[in-house]
Every structure is written in structure tokens, then in C-alpha cells.
Amino acid sequence: MSDTAPSLKSRKVAFRGGGFAPRMHRWVGVMVFAALILIAEWGTRAGWISALTLPKPSDVLATFIGLYESGQLFKHLGPSLSRLIVGAAIGTSLGISVGVLIGLFSYIRSGLVPLVAAIFPIPKIALLPLFVIWFGIGEGSKYALIAFGTFTPTVVATYGAVDNVDRSLIRMGQSFGLSWWSIVRKIVLPGAMPGILSGLRISLAIAIILLVAAEMLGAEYGIGAYILEAGSLYDLERLFVGVAILSILGVAVSALIGAVERRVLDWRT
């Protein structure tokens, strides 16, 4: 091969193995937000976006600062966060328990999987009047709505995650004579944790969506109440402040789960 005839033309082999491996660049996400806000600011100032179409981002910011300085921000945020935390805690903990039971027992699986499939697509907002009758107009119905809304996606994610636990690890546990409870606690639950956490991302986003619905009835304070009030008055600045707070809440929850994943799932390759 070394005595290649000089007449043969040599050409570099073209690279064709790139792509299909997306990676996260943190600053790009920030740039997209900044660019959109700058375009909106420019448009509303220049006048090619009318004040009725979109409020001026700088006005929204001023409204937000006003809300913060008047102390109203925490008056709204406090009740909302407690509703979110209590409701989501009830819904996800019940969801994880039921999901694990579905993942482990044939009869529970046969009985509950169709039931979960039946209640998953019900818009939980439609049941709000029912919850008010059952749990009263106070906090109870709000907790119930958020809990119910987070319950079903958590169940589905959890039993899927339990199904995906490496059977050879369970077999190993049995072969060493581990008790049933030990196998569940030390093999099934940690093995299902990646799936449960990615399910939590969806459940908690749904919880934030339902927060607004929960505060539609009989809530004086709360981000949802604030948004609904602004909406009924067509006060776009305040509406956008409320929406932005929900978005920030969403990003914060997602970051929180990301941090938990990095801590709890550092064993993953």
C-alpha cells in the first residue's frame, strides 16, 4: 500500500459523523428571553405594537417593583406558595405510593390502571364546584384541586419507573434472601427514582397551572387571584406581572428538581 502510484489523486475523507447530540448552553436560553423582551420594548416604544396588544415591558417591570415595594407581592405569593406546596405534597406523595403499588401488585395494577386512565383526561378545573361542595370554599378545595391534578401524572410516571427497574437487580436481591420490604426500599425505590423525578417535573408544572384555577373561587390573595382580577379589569401590566411570576415559579421548580437530580442521581453514568 505504501508504494501508491503518484498519479492517484489524494482526497481528505469528509467528516459525516456530527450532529444528533444536542447539549444545553445556559446563556442561549437567557439570550432568547432578553431578545424577546427587547423586541417587545422596542415595538411598544416605536408604536408598531399598540398598547392594547402588549404592555410595555418596562411598565410591567415598574408595576412589579410597585407590587414589591407595597408589600403586596408577598401577600399574594405567600398563600399561593402554601397552596402549591400542600396540594402538590399531598398529590405527589399519594401518587408515588399508588404508583409503586401498581408497579408491584398484579391485582392493584389490573384494578387501578384503567381507573387512572379514566380520571387522567378529566380537566380538573371542571371539578372545582364539586371540590367546593366536598371541602368547602376555603383552603381545602384548593388543596384538593392541586392534589388531584398532580396525583394522576405522578401515578403514571411512578409505575412506569417501577416497571423499568432492572429486573436482574431484583433477582439479585431475592437470591441473597433480602426481605420483600428491603427489596422495595433498597432496590425498587432508588431504581425508580430517575423516572419519579422526571414525572415530578410534569406534575409540579401542572400544579402551577391549577393554582390559578384553584384561586378562581373565594381567594382574596394569591397569584391566581391577582391575575384573575387584573384580567377582568383588562389591566395588562398587572396581568403580565402575574404571568411572569408564574413563569419564574416554574423555572424555579424546574431548577430545584434539577438540583435534587444532581444530588440524588449522581450514580447515573
Binding site: 436482574s168 433477582r171 426481605s179 432496590i187 432508588p190 442521581l265 447515573r268 453514568t269
Partner: protein, 255 residues
């Protein structure tokens, strides 16, 4: 403690995988089971340890396991079966926790088996940080920790490259020479079988039946690389298996 297989047979649906296997596994010996792929050798091993139930025949345990034995029938799996979220030491203490062995007592056992498998400095490492050979040594250490009466090894070296395999075979020979253990060793690799087996059981293709039991008298410590007698044994095993393996390879899979 010895193990006796008495007329084991099994079928999955309509497919008969094992037929009339009767075999004694004497104490202090390594019995290798070889056979073409799909002959049911791994299934047979699962019967021996009680992870699956045979349709016909029974597996008997003769005599009592020695004192201090936590788990008489202990597996070593081909895929290591280590918990990825536990460290090396954590994977070993896992199998002690259910026996109420914790704290200093557990630490003593863990340190002991890590030293025997030359893993002491890796006690805190996670499985993802270890090579395949190291992972299997952890699994061997975990098996030693429960002080088994019989080790059930399911192609323990098949997932490793050939150099690592040689190193681990040496380690197993060392372990056995220092303290003979009873083992059933399933493999498709004839070199492993003649290196580690006191007896080599050759199974036919499906339905698996015992074709021949080859005794190898040479002490394990003398079985070095390129030994003429061992080569002859290995050649004999291969002649027994070649036609079976070829026929098994040409079969359609009905699963």
C-alpha cells in the same frame, strides 16, 4: 453441604429445554456446566438456587450448611448485578443488613472480603467508576461476605474482555486454593471450564441432557497456560460439543 439434582426437566410452554438431569455437586469442588447456547444451562443454575421452579424433578440440599453461613446458595451473575447507587462497600453491606449485621461487625466482614478480592482502596467508589473486571470482583466479594455453602456462578466472566478474564480466573484459583469452596460454574467458554472445573458436565443442545461428565484430576494451582493435558481435555470437550453447537446455531428460535 452438597447439592443433588434428581431428574430435573423443564419446558417453557411447548418447548422442552431440559430433560432428566441428575447430578451430584460434591463439597469443595467446582462443577462446570458447558453446552451450546440455549441448552438451558443458565435455567438449570436458577433451579439450583431456587430462583425458578423446575416442572419435573427436584433439587436437594444434602447436609446442613456450615455455621456462620448467611446465604447457603449464593449467585454471581454475568451482569454483576451491583446497585449503581451504592458504593462498593455499600453493595456488600446490602446483603448483610437483612441479617441484622451492621456497624462494626459489618465493617469487619466488608474489610475482610475487600482484602481477599484486592479491592480495599476502592471501598468508596461507585460502580460507574469501575471497569468490568473490578465490578465482577465486587460481586465476588459480595458473595464471599455471606459465607456461602455453594457458589452459583452464571457465566461470571462472559461480559469481560479476554485479558481481564485471565486475571479473574487467576483470582478465582487463588481464592479456591486458599479456602476451597463448592461451586457450580456455568459457562460456554471451554478454556474456563478446563481451568476451573474439577468436573465438567457437557450438556447437549435443547432439550439439554447430560452428554458426558469429564473429570479433571489436576490440581487447580497446577493448571497453567498452554498445559498439554488441559489442551487435550479442551479438545475432547470441543469434539463433544461441536456438532451440538452447530445444530443449535442453525435452529430457529421459538420464543
Amino acid at each position: 453441604m452438597e447439592i443433588r439434582l434428581d431428574g430435573i426437566g423443564h419446558s417453557y410452554d411447548a418447548v422442552e429445554v431440559l430433560r432428566d438431569i441428575s447430578l451430584d455437586i460434591p463439597q469443595g469442588q467446582i462443577v462446570c456446566i458447558v453446552g451450546p447456547s440455549g441448552c438451558g444451562k443458565s435455567t438449570l443454575l436458577r433451579f439450583i438456587g431456587g430462583l425458578e421452579r423446575p416442572a419435573r424433578g427436584e433439587v436437594l440440599q444434602l447436609g446442613e450448611p456450615p455455621r456462620g453461613c448467611l446465604n447457603p446458595l449464593t449467585y454471581i451473575f454475568q451482569d454483576f448485578a451491583l446497585l449503581p447507587w451504592r458504593s462498593v462497600a455499600g453493595n456488600i453491606s446490602l446483603v448483610l443488613e437483612d441479617h441484622g449485621i451492621r456497624g462494626a461487625a459489618a465493617q469487619e466482614i466488608v474489610d475482610g472480603v475487600l482484602a481477599r478480592t484486592k479491592l480495599t482502596e476502592f471501598a468508596r467508589a461507585l460502580p460507574k467508576q469501575l471497569s468490568g473486571g473490578m465490578k465482577q470482583r465486587v460481586a465476588i466479594a459480595r458473595a464471599l461476605a455471606v459465607n456461602p455453602a455453594v457458589m452459583l456462578m452464571d457465566e461470571p466472566l462472559s461480559a469481560l474482555d479476554s485479558q481481564t478474564r485471565e486475571l479473574l480466573m487467576d483470582d478465582l484459583v487463588d481464592l479456591w486454593s486458599r479456602q476451597p469452596f463448592t461451586a457450580v460454574y456455568v459457562t460456554h467458554n471451554l478454556a474456563e471450564a478446563v481451568r476451573l472445573g474439577h468436573r465438567v458436565v457437557v450438556l447437549s443442545r435443547r432439550p439439554g441432557q447430560i452428554r458426558e461428565i469429564v473429570e479433571i484430576d489436576m490440581p487447580l494451582s497446577e493448571r497453567d497456560f498452554g498445559n498439554a493435558d488441559l489442551d487435550a481435555k479442551q479438545k475432547h470437550l470441543w469434539t463433544l460439543m461441536r456438532d451440538e453447537a452447530r445444530a443449535a446455531d442453525a435452529e430457529l428460535i421459538h420464543v
